[in-house]
């Protein structure tokens, strides 16, 4: 064994062995997560691909000034936060309701339903976009066929921002609710059966048991999950807004969120400085949000803390 391995009785540690196990992950993390950090200065530069990030000229806060003096920051922030709030409320409400319903049927039936509810979660947003296309395609889509049969004119779905105010929440719900419902259902079946037995003896009916016992018992879990979602409220599901909408520019008033703006500013508009400024703004606010919500989660349940 090496000199690093101290095989004394009070510290049963082979340090070299542990470092060996740790190093691959540390190297990857440093390489992928920490090394890009200096690149944040791009937000304060007039970035020029030829000159690179160190030699490009400083621009001070002008990228941020531009973002916040035009309506860009306000619009993408509003879209990001309001969409996430709608998604959070909708997903958790539906998921809890589904979990309560699942709790009423046999385990075998639960397995069947769970498999189906789960499957959208396993599809990528690219595949989901194909499913969307089948529904929303301009002249041939299923929805327009239905509208036509009803004697109404078809809608050019990918060019009408208003209709996506309804489509986006449904698409998000479709992909996520099974996942969240499973979490709530698992919590429900873990509840103490004596609670229900006592309620039964006192003559409570199914609804009363669901509302008086199940829901209050879930409260802590709801707070934790919702808080975790709120911690991520400044980030959005890029796939939903980019792939599922087929990146249709006509929909931007409704679909443009911080992540899609950063992506577009970087790769389409060719303005890395602006993109980096928007990205840094997002990262900083997200950091504060995660710290605050993590604090709340820790208060609710110390076992759920990460940091």
């Amino acid at each position: 064994m090496s000199f690093l391995a101290t095989k004394r009785k009070d510290s049963l540690i082979d340090r070299r062995g542990l470092w060996l196990l740790a190093i691959p992950a540390l190297v990857i993390t440093i390489l992928m997560q920490y090394m890009p950090l200096p690149g944040l200065i791009i937000a304060f530069k007039n970035y020029n691909y030829g000159l690179g990030m160190w030699k490009s000229t400083w621009s001070g806060f002008s990228n941020f000034k531009y973002l916040f003096s035009t309506d860009i920051a306000a619009r993408i922030t509003f879209n990001t936060i309001s969409w996430n709030l709608i998604f959070i409320v909708l997903t958790h409400t539906v998921a809890i309701s589904v979990a309560l319903l699942l709790n009423e049927v046999s385990r075998k039936a639960v397995k069947f339903y769970q498999t189906i509810y789960f499957f959208p979660f396993f599809l990528s947003w690219v595949i989901a976009a194909y499913l969307g296309l089948a529904l929303f395609n301009g002249d041939k889509g299923i929805l327009n066929s239905i509208l036509n049969t009803l004697g109404r004119e078809g809608i050019i779905w990918y060019a009408k921002p208003e209709v996506w105010k309804g489509i986006l929440p449904i698409a998000h719900l479709w992909k996520q609710f099974g996942y969240v419902a499973v979490i709530y259902y698992t919590a429900l079946i873990g509840l103490n059966p004596q609670l229900y037995e006592a309620a039964m003896l006192e003559g409570a009916n199914r609804w009363q048991m669901a509302y008086r016992i199940s829901v209050p018992q879930l409260k802590q879990l709801v707070v934790i999950l919702v808080m975790m979602d709120i911690g991520r409220i400044f980030r959005s599901d890029f796939g939903l807004f980019y792939q599922f909408t087929r990146n249709s520019s006509m929909l931007y008033p409704v679909t443009d969120v911080i992540d899609t703006y950063v992506y577009r500013a970087l790769l389409t508009l060719g303005d890395p400085g602006m993109a980096a400024a928007a990205g840094l703004y997002q990262s900083l606010v997200a950091l504060v949000l995660v710290l605050v919500t993590n604090k709340i989660v820790t208060k609710v349940d110390s076992e759920s803390r990460v940091f």
Partner: protein, 299 residues
């Protein structure tokens, strides 16, 4: 004992099942539409639009794809390579670091834990990452950049760590007494005892690599290296891409593009890509469900 309260009249149970079945339909109907379109005749779609049930039945789209699809086969190979190599490496590296984190008696383990999980709090973001990969690492158009970024995914490491920390310390200590090194303990004791957690995390990694389009969207422009998801995305954003690139006859003989299946082939391609996941996932659901519940509650 829970059976006791599971008694109820058939009426309300019927309503509950009705609601649950309705939801299930909403979940799978779009997929059924895609299947129906892929088996339709192209000319019928052009004339009458998509329909919920196929009015005609044709295998032309599938035949076309399977006959002329060098690009599809290539992308399949790329995706399989990334998924297999990626998830095996990720699982190995992640379980190793997760074990080190559980060794509270190892002084550096706190600092290591912090280093690995800090990125959950703060990241450089897309722009610094993109420029770093393209200009500094020069990994554009390589398979490596489709694998490396996901090798250490913090929440999956967290899941493994949670599981491994439940393994009694006395077992590790007794192996120590027998003179085993940390590496031996990890391989002979920890890995066999964490099998179900490893299965869960391995599946999540597999899913992540198979479904990923984000990294290829950013870094792959070379057709020979595009994974399935990127190929699909290009076909989606440009209907002609399928006809022109996918069915470019290999022998150089010009194909009458207008006669090729368009929409039907698009949907058929999507199904051929989603297929493996759809067939495989019900069998592994048990592990995934466990991962989700443990991960979110204990996470």
């Amino acid at each position: 004992m829970k059976r006791l309260y599971k008694k109820q009249n058939f009426g309300s149970l019927g309503i509950i099942h009705f609601t649950l079945i309705l939801l299930a339909l909403v979940c799978i109907l779009p997929l059924l539409f895609v299947i129906s379109i892929s088996f339709s005749e192209e000319s019928d779609l052009i004339k009458n639009g998509y329909s919920i049930f196929p009015r005609t039945f044709s295998l032309a789209a599938y035949k076309m794809i399977l006959e002329n699809s060098e690009q599809l086969v290539r992308s399949y190979l790329v995706s399989i390579f990334i998924s297999v190599v990626g998830s095996i490496s990720a699982l190995t590296i992640s379980s190793m670091i997760a074990y080190v984190m559980t060794r509270k008696d190892f002084k550096a383990s706190r600092m290591i834990t912090f280093l690995i999980f800090f990125p959950m709090l703060f990241q450089a973001g897309l722009v610094p990452f993109y420029i770093y990969v393209v200009k500094f690492l020069r990994l554009k158009n390589t398979l490596a950049i489709l694998i490396i970024p996901y090798l250490v995914t913090p929440w999956l490491v967290l899941l493994l760590k949670g599981y491994m920390s439940q393994i009694p310390k006395s077992i590790i200590e007794s192996s120590w007494m027998e003179g085993a090194s940390e590496l031996t303990i990890f391989i002979r004791v920890i890995v066999p005892m964490s099998k179900s957690a490893l299965a869960t995390v391995g599946l999540f990694y597999l899913l992540q690599y198979w479904n990923d389009w984000w990294l290829s969207l950013l870094f792959i422009s070379d057709d020979s290296m595009q994974p399935l998801q990127l190929l699909l995305q290009r076909i989606l954003s440009n209907a002609e891409f399928l006809r022109s690139s996918l069915f470019q006859s290999a022998s150089g003989v010009a194909v009458d593009i207008s006669k090729l299946p368009g929409d039907t082939a698009r949907m058929a391609t999507a199904l051929l890509v989603a297929g493996p996941i759809l067939i495989v996932f019900p069998f592994f659901q048990r592990y995934l469900v466990r991962g989700i519940t443990v991960g979110s509650i204990k996470g």
